[in-house]
Symmetry: C2
Subunit: 129 residues, 2 copies
């Protein structure tokens, strides 16, 4: 049962309303992808400009090769990121946001900025317990 959405979108493949609260709606899976720690950081990093594999690795402190590659592949599959490989020696691979990926910039950046802006409120809330 759907609540009172401000705007109702429809999933073309099923004809049903797009609803993240519905377990089977494909939006739920996408939300899981986007609401992943690494996804947020990668998309936000690429928001500024195209980056190479190693640049991403250095920028996102603490990410492992495995998770970086894996998350990039998923972002590619979802159509958020384009991978461009130049057949040079040594190889050079660039990652860029697609137009779809760019449209994600704003909500993702808002999330990052909110966290950075409210970290002190949160730490205070934690201590008063």
């Amino acid at each position: 049962m759907r609540y009172t959405p401000s705007v109702t979108h429809y999933v073309e493949s099923s004809g049903l309303p797009a609803d993240v609260y519905s377990a089977k709606c494909p939006t739920r899976e996408v939300l899981d992808h986007i609401a992943g720690k690494w996804t947020v950081l990668i998309v936000d990093a690429l928001a500024e400009r195209t980056l190479r594999y190693t640049e991403l690795r250095r920028r996102i402190e603490g990410i492992s090769q495995k998770m970086l590659t894996q998350t990039l592949r998923q972002l590619e599959a979802d159509g958020f990121v384009t991978r461009t490989a130049y057949p040079t020696v040594p190889p050079q691979v660039e990652y860029t946001l697609t137009p779809l990926g760019h449209s994600l910039r704003s909500p993702i950046a808002a999330l990052r900025e909110w966290v950075e802006a409210h970290i002190n409120d949160i730490e205070r809330a934690r201590q008063s317990r």
Copy 2:
């Protein structure tokens, strides 16, 4: 090393700049909390109004008791949600967003709305591979 943030906030407990890209910055952990599938759905559900435990469970299709309780506890600890128990029989427990939690509404809702608005673009991107 920090890039070019639009605004720099500081973590009072350390005096260092708030930076989700830094592995040890406390903002990273908070981002992990917020960027969880259940967190997004719970905060978004509570954005509209106070809800009882069972109401939340019904609203968020597919969530288990364990994850609902666990995520609510974390939201409480982070200061996003208030838990109010009425000593009635049967018990009644209400969950409400705190002012801090309310400030999260906008970025969270933006994320949900983005997903619902772009699900068709994403499904198309997936098929063309």
